[in-house]
Each structure stands twice: as structure tokens, then as C-alpha cells.
């Protein structure tokens, strides 16, 4: 039995829609270039659909570790000024962004 990646037929990718999900603006020439490239890549990676994956556990980490705990002690962070030194825009010691709420 083949798995779900093997659904046959070339896949049409709505490149601009997916890029918007990733909060990434593209211009028209990028959409055009990526369209063919990404569809070619997706067409290739679909080959994993040939495999019968029933009953196979997914691997999310090569060496699974669970519930890594440490002592609940207070530690110094990086320091406010040091962090704000890299801020593109700062106001009153905070990150300034365009207005969110009217």
C-alpha cells in the first residue's frame, strides 16, 4: 500500500499564497522562478509515497529524549541594554513596531 504522498499527477503550488503564510512578500519574477523550481522539487520528493509506511513510528529527533529538566534556580539573563542594542527601533526601552490597534 502506498502512502498519502503518492497521490499522482503534478501538483500546482500557489506560491504567493504559501509565501504569505510565511510572511514573505515576493515580486512577480520571483513567483515565476520559484513556481517551476518548487514544483520540480515537490514532484521529486513525492517519491517517498512509494513506501509502505504503515506501522512505522515517525522520528522527530534522531536521539529521542524526553522531559529534560533542570534545577529551578534563578539565573541571570542577557541584560536589558545588551538585548536592546540590536533592536532596529526602540522607544522607552522597548521594541517599537508600527501601530497594531487603532
Amino acid at each position: 500500500m502506498a502512502n498519502e504522498a503518492d497521490q499522482g499527477g503534478p501538483e500546482k503550488i500557489d506560491v504567493r499564497y504559501v509565501a504569505n503564510l510565511a510572511r514573505l512578500y515576493l515580486d512577480d519574477s520571483e513567483v515565476e522562478t520559484f513556481q517551476g523550481q518548487l514544483e520540480g522539487i515537490v514532484e521529486h520528493v513525492k517519491q517517498i509515497g512509494e513506501l509502505d509506511l504503515a506501522g512505522i513510528e515517525p522520528t522527530s529527533h534522531a536521539r529521542p529524549v524526553q522531559n529534560v529538566l533542570r534545577e529551578d534556580v534563578v539565573r541571570a539573563g542577557l541584560g536589558h541594554e545588551l538585548v536592546m542594542d540590536n533592536a532596529p527601533k526602540e522607544k522607552n526601552g522597548q521594541f517599537a513596531v508600527p501601530q497594531i490597534i487603532e
Binding site: E30, V42, V45, I48, L51, H61, A62, R63, L78, P98
Partner: protein, 499 residues
């Protein structure tokens, strides 16, 4: 100063320092002079912190005079531009991190610093470690010191080119799908990808968190062993780092291979593989047999699915990891945005290069609603099968021998518009990251056109001693390998084409 730094190894530098032949300050000045001589052609460095490095070197010299030790005391090391070194820039080869200054040391850096290493400069890379040529850097093109018309490999291309050009004694790279081993192979250096969890990833700007590892690029196996040993260990700041014993990797490496069982995975000797690469790797296999190793063919049957599995998982993780570059807290922010969403879209459009955009879109696509099970979840299951292939092979092999890549270094500009073709060449390296095992690249020959060929040695997770032993014994039997400057690392023998 009487010491030749361009062919100097870490162990050679430590001997020279402890023998009083030179000071750390002289070493650093010597390396800076090599950079001044060659880097206009090679383009390995993004920045050189001359004043900072000299200051660290003088402190190391003072510590040595005061009788203080340190396993790397006074040795300068070049760092890939993806690892945080306090007070230094960290651009990840991207415009989006222009102007960023690291507020802290990565754990691996802190461990090297604690042993007295000197941080000399930052070396070029593919943007966010995505690529295998270093042509995806926003800064500049880095060239292969053996042939300036060729790429140094990637993504740690600057790390390998700096070592091969004699502009660094050793360097650090990172390996998510081969980014230490492949450039080391293209540039005639040694590159070690430690097991996943061996070295803390804290302070390494993440590309694919379940695959990334820091690794050294050096002129010989013992140097790689020493740097790995120093950086290893569990870290509370990286919950995926593992509390495994750290064997003494750089010492006690025997020069014979009697009783060692080595497997040849037949799937790695692919159709279309370059003849010179096959010849170089098979000659190294024969040499290992002569050293006493038992060689047998093994099968890793799911290898043909590895590139697909890798590009689904790596891009999925990248699309999540790179969400942090939104122009809010650090990095570049686009002007003229009307609201925060607009600001993210514009900042990312301006800040990221084409390959990063391509992978973010692919990763977002394979994680998106309706496709998650078909791509991402299926790839995670195939990852299990690939891991099990290795477990079976390692049941009766101590290590595996294979090529690092199907061919030698590409010419600059080649295949840049065909990303899938480039991805397919990662076939021999991505498997180690998917399985979490360790891998080593050791120079094993030259092509007829004068480019280095690498032998890949793969070992079980947390068995770095296995692959280092094989690498060291092979390296001793092979003898000195030429360097791109024409003077062999260690002693004079092969004179290579190039600079």
C-alpha cells in the same frame, strides 16, 4: 618570526607554543599575514578581528608565562559566521542580520575560549547554511584555493577555504546535511560532523534543529578529534545535547586497523559518480584493508529516499526557525510599513536571498494544512527507516566507508538555476544527519584536473572514536596530503595546482 603558519596544524601550533618557538601573538600575526596575502583571491573571511585577536593572544601568552594551561592555549581559530561570539558580528551570510552584534558566546565557543583558543575572524557561508557552494552568501563569492574557478563547497565554504589556503590553522563549521564534510572534501581538509547531541547547539543560529551539529575543519584527524573533544558535553542551554561520556579522542589513536570491521554501502557508489572520485575512494578502501581492516559490502536500502526526506524535514524546520527574523527585535527592518504584518513581509523580502526564500516556501508548503501528513509526517517515518538501515549495518560493522560527494568541486556559477540538481548531490551526506550518527571526511586523492577527493567514514552515534581511529590510521598510511599553497600539511610532497 621563524615559524611557517600556512601549513601549521593545531597540534603543531601547540608544540611550537609550549616549546617556546613562537608566541601566540606571533602566531596570530602570522595568520593575519597569510590572510593579507591570499584572501583577496580566496575570499574566505567576512571579517577579521585583528585587535581583538591580538589582545586574546597576549592574554594567552601571559597565561602561559604564568604557568597556566589550556588545551588550546593561544591557538587562533576561524569561526563560521553562524556561531555567536560575544561582541562580534554574526550575519549568517545574510543581509537580514547586517549590523547584528552577538550579545553572548555559543556554548561551543565558550568551551574553546575556556581552553585558551583565540577567535581571529569570521568566515563566509551560504546564507543561513543553505547551500553547498557558498555562492548563496550575501557578502561575496568564496573560491576554492585549489582552483579559483571552482567553489569551495558549502555551506561551510569559508571555513574549508580558509584552512586549505593556509589562512587558518583550523576552523569551525556546521553540518545540517553535509555542510562540514562536503566543503572539507572539496578543499582537501579534514571535516568532522559529530553525533547529534554531542556538542551543544546553544548559540548556533538554527537552520534545522533536529539535524544541525557544529564540527571542526582541520588539516589532520587528530586536530579534529581535539576540537571535538573540547566542545563536547551536555549543556542545560540545549535540551537535545546528551550526557554521554567524552572519550579522549585526540590521544590513543592507533595506526593500524586490525580487527576493525568496515562496511561499504553499495548505494553510495551511485550511477554517474565521477571516475576519479570512485578511484580515490576505492584506493583508500584498499589501504584500510592493508592496515588490517575487514571490508564487507553492506546495504542501506532506503538511501534513495534520503534526499527527499531530508529536504522535507530540513525545510520544514527552517521555515519555523527563520520565522524569528521579522525585523522586530534584531536584524534589518524595512522602512515604510503600514502595519506589523506588512513590516514582516517587506523586511523578509528585502533581507533574505533566493535560496532561503525557496526553502522557507517549500518548508511552509510541506507543513501546511492538507499536506502535513503526506509530506512532513511521511518524511519523519522514512527517517525512521533510514535510521534503522544504519542500526542494522552497524550491528556488524564498526564504521562505513563511502564517498563524500559523487563528484569534485563545481565550477563557480554551475547549476545555480537548478536547485533540485544541487540537492541530489547531497545523497551521501544527508543520511548521517537524518540518523544522528557521526561522520568524517578525510582527503583521499586528487582528480586528474587537480581537485581534492574526500573519503567519508561514518560511525554509530556517539562512537566518534571509531571513525577517528579509521581516519587517523588511513591518514598515517596515506602520508602527507598536498596543500593548495604547494606545501603539504606536515611535510613537503605533493605540489598542487591552484594559487
Amino acid at each position: 618570526m621563524g615559524i611557517e603558519v600556512s601549513s601549521l596544524t593545531v597540534h603543531g601550533a601547540l608544540d611550537a607554543l609550549s616549546g617556546g618557538e613562537c608566541s601566540s601573538e606571533e602566531l596570530v600575526r602570522g595568520v593575519i599575514a597569510e590572510i593579507a596575502k591570499r584572501d583577496a583571491d580566496v575570499g574566505a573571511y567576512v571579517s577579521v578581528d585583528e585587535d581583538g585577536a591580538l589582545e586574546q593572544a597576549r592574554l594567552a601568552d601571559a597565561a602561559r608565562s604564568a604557568g597556566k594551561g589550556g588545551r588550546l592555549l593561544g591557538v587562533p581559530i576561524a569561526i563560521k559566521d553562524v556561531l555567536n561570539v560575544e561582541g562580534q558580528p554574526c550575519s549568517c551570510g545574510s543581509k537580514i542580520l547586517e549590523g547584528y552584534t552577538s550579545p553572548y558566546d555559543a556554548t561551543a565557543i565558550a568551551k574553546l575560549r575556556a581552553e585558551g583558543a583565540v577567535f581571529l575572524g569570521r568566515v563566509n557561508m551560504d546564507e543561513f547554511a543553505m547551500g553547498s557552494t557558498t555562492q548563496n552568501s550575501a557578502h561575496k563569492v568564496t573560491r576554492n584555493p585549489w582552483n579559483l574557478d571552482c567553489v569551495p563547497g558549502g555551506s561551510s565554504g569559508g571555513s574549508a577555504a580558509a584552512v586549505a589556503a593556509g589562512e587558518a590553522i583550523a576552523s569551525l563549521g556546521t553540518d545540517t546535511g553535509g555542510s562540514v564534510r562536503q566543503p572539507a572534501s572539496f578543499c582537501g581538509c579534514v571535516g568532522l560532523k559529530p553525533s547529534y547531541g554531542r556538542i551543544s547547539r546553544y548559540g548556533l543560529v538554527a537552520f534545522a534543529s533536529s539535524l544541525d551539529q557544529i564540527g571542526p575543519i582541520t588539516k589532520n584527524v587528530r586536530d579534529a578529534a581535539l576540537l571535538c573533544e573540547v566542545m563536547s558535553g551536555v549543556d542545560v542551554m540545549d535540551s537535545s545535547s546528551l550526557d554521554e561520556p567524552i572519550p579522549s579522542l585526540a590521544t590513543d589513536l592507533p595506526t593500524d586497523l586490525s580487527g576493525v570491521r568496515l562496511g561499504l554501502p553499495k548505494e553510495y557508489f551511485v550511477d554517474g559518480m565521477d571516475d576519479d572520485v570512485r578511484r580515490g575512494v576505492m584506493a583508500a578502501v584498499e589501504q584500510c584493508r592493508e592496515l588490517g581492516a575487514e571490508i564487507k559490502e553492506v546495504s542501506l536500502p532506503h538511501t534513495k529516499y534520503a534526499v527527499s526526506t531530508y529536504y522535507i524535514i530540513a525545510t520544514a524546520e527552517a521555515s519555523a526557525n527563520l520565522a524569528r527574523f521579522d525585523g522586530v527585535r534584531y536584524g534589518q527592518r524595512a522602512e515604510g510599513a503600514t502595519d506589523p504584518i506588512d513590516m514582516y513581509g517587506k523586511s523578509r523580502a528585502q533581507g533574505f536571498g533566493a535560496e532561503v526564500k525557496r526553502r522557507i516556501i517549500l518548508g511552509t508548503y510541506v507543513l501546511s494544512s492538507g499536506y502535513y501528513d503526506a509530506y512532513y509526517l511521511s518524511a519523519q517515518k522514512v527517517r525512521t527507516l533510514i535510521r534503522q538501515d544504519f542500526e542494522k549495518a552497524f550491528a556488524d560493522c564498526d564504521a562505513l566507508l563511502a564517498p563524500v560527494t559523487p563528484g569534485p568541486a563545481y565550477r563557480i556559477g554551475e547549476s545555480m538555476d537548478d536547485p533540485l540538481r544541487m540537492y541530489l548531490d547531497d545523497i551521501c551526506t544527508v543520511t548521517a544527519n537524518l540518523a544522528g550518527i557521526c561522520g568524517l571526511s578525510v582527503p583521499c586523492g586528487m582528480t586528474d584536473s587537480g581537485l581534492p577527493v574526500g573519503l567519508q567514514i561514518l560511525g554509530p552515534a556517539f562512537k566518534e572514536e571509531n571513525i577517528l581511529r579509521v581516519g587517523h590510521a588511513y591518514e598515517c598510511a596515506r602520508g602527507p596530503f598536498g596543500s593548495a599553497q604547494g606545501n603539504a600539511f606536515g611535510s613537503a610532497s605533493v605540489v598542487a595546482k591552484g594559487l
